[in-house]
Symmetry: C2
Subunit: 225 residues, 2 copies
């Protein structure tokens, strides 16, 4: 396998979706962690359901729907102010601490880098800027171009198309095991950033490599060029 380019998932991989937990905890004491987790789970579920049913809408709206549902389910009274605060923070989620340095080093190795995300262009631009990651990526690819969320093949096809490479020569990197598995099924070379030491999903497929952080990814790439 020769890696010519790397496509990164954004939410959970570059940006910490659970970093919202601190604000959630402040707004809803003793419920911050549960809210952050259910919000994230529903966001993913809704994106997949909407793809199965051909009822796409932008990920920002899906994210807001998921927040509203999660609060109802947990019986938390979500004021309009609180909703705007949480969504506002989602727009500028914290990057994981090692990411900026690793991305710079990958770029310095003359690898082509992209984001390939469920996020719509506006929210991706905002979170990349807030993290100071402008200029690190050759392409910021949103599934909004095909109106289907991952793990639809049309979504994964965006990176091979823009790079002019076959999927196996692109390393797809995600912290979401379902995403890394979907990308493996699609044909990418894959690296699972298993940040929480979770068990592998039982899907009959496994990412080609695994690590705990983007630092492990860097080591892997150095030995697989």
């Amino acid at each position: 396998m020769t890696i010519h380019a790397i496509a990164f998932d954004a939410y959970g991989t570059l940006f910490d979706v659970y970093s919202i937990g601190a604000l959630a905890e402040k707004l809803f004491p003793e419920n911050g962690k549960a809210l952050a987790e259910l919000w994230r789970a529903k966001q993913i579920e809704y994106s997949q359901l909407r793809t199965l049913c051909s009822t796409y809408k932008p990920f920002w709206e899906v994210t807001q729907d998921a927040l509203i549902f999660a609060c109802k389910k947990l019986q938390l009274d979500l004021s309009f102010d609180a909703q705007n605060s949480l969504m506002g923070q989602y727009a500028k989620l914290q990057p994981f601490p090692e990411n900026l340095s690793v991305l710079q080093q990958l770029k310095d190795m003359d690898l082509k880098l992209a984001i390939l995300s469920n996020g719509n262009p506006q929210m991706l631009d905002a979170v990349v800027k807030a993290a100071g990651m402008q200029g690190l990526f050759n392409h910021i690819l949103s599934v909004d171009a095909v109106k289907k969320f991952k793990t639809a093949p049309e979504a994964y096809q965006l990176a091979p198309d823009v790079f002019g490479l076959s999927a196996r020569n692109i390393l797809f990197v995600s912290s979401n095991c379902w995403d890394a598995c979907g990308a493996t099924w699609f044909g990418y070379s894959t690296f699972w950033v298993n940040r929480s030491a979770a068990p592998l999903e039982e899907l009959g497929v496994a990412p080609h490599a695994e690590g705990r952080s983007l630092t492990d990814l860097l080591d892997y790439v150095k030995t697989h060029r």
Copy 2:
């Protein structure tokens, strides 16, 4: 709206997927409820991912995969014996108490009845027989015929095809809100058996009617023929 036929989801709607919790609790004290819930959530997630990625396999196998993952995630040591016991019980899940009587009354009203389920034919036959529901249904429809799980349109299309009716003249009944919403998007008349008084999913669509049990469904049907 005139209802000529009713199509029932099976798992969660006719058969209690959480009735497995008692056996799970016996096998894994203090973890039975968590296991039953995660097992069910993963079963649904895997079915949707496999449909998005065109990697269908029978629901029985998906169910077993989900059980294995759920135990790993909860750090429960699943022996082969325990796995077989849990799967064996899944094959004969308990029906909800009101169901047999309600189904008989609907049949006596000359309504055509079907099951439309993610389950593969073998597991559906087994669970229907164990519940003594043979003879109540005109059709037992499995998505195995189209190799796509709900909420794929091809799966929902099975009942209109077999009944020779348009979807809006068929009442689709599910306790799973995502399933009732998917069926509504598809074009069915829909009834959500909201057994746990859950909030409506934030999907921008709502089932046409809602109740807490199949007894509520019976009342609804009597007034909508």
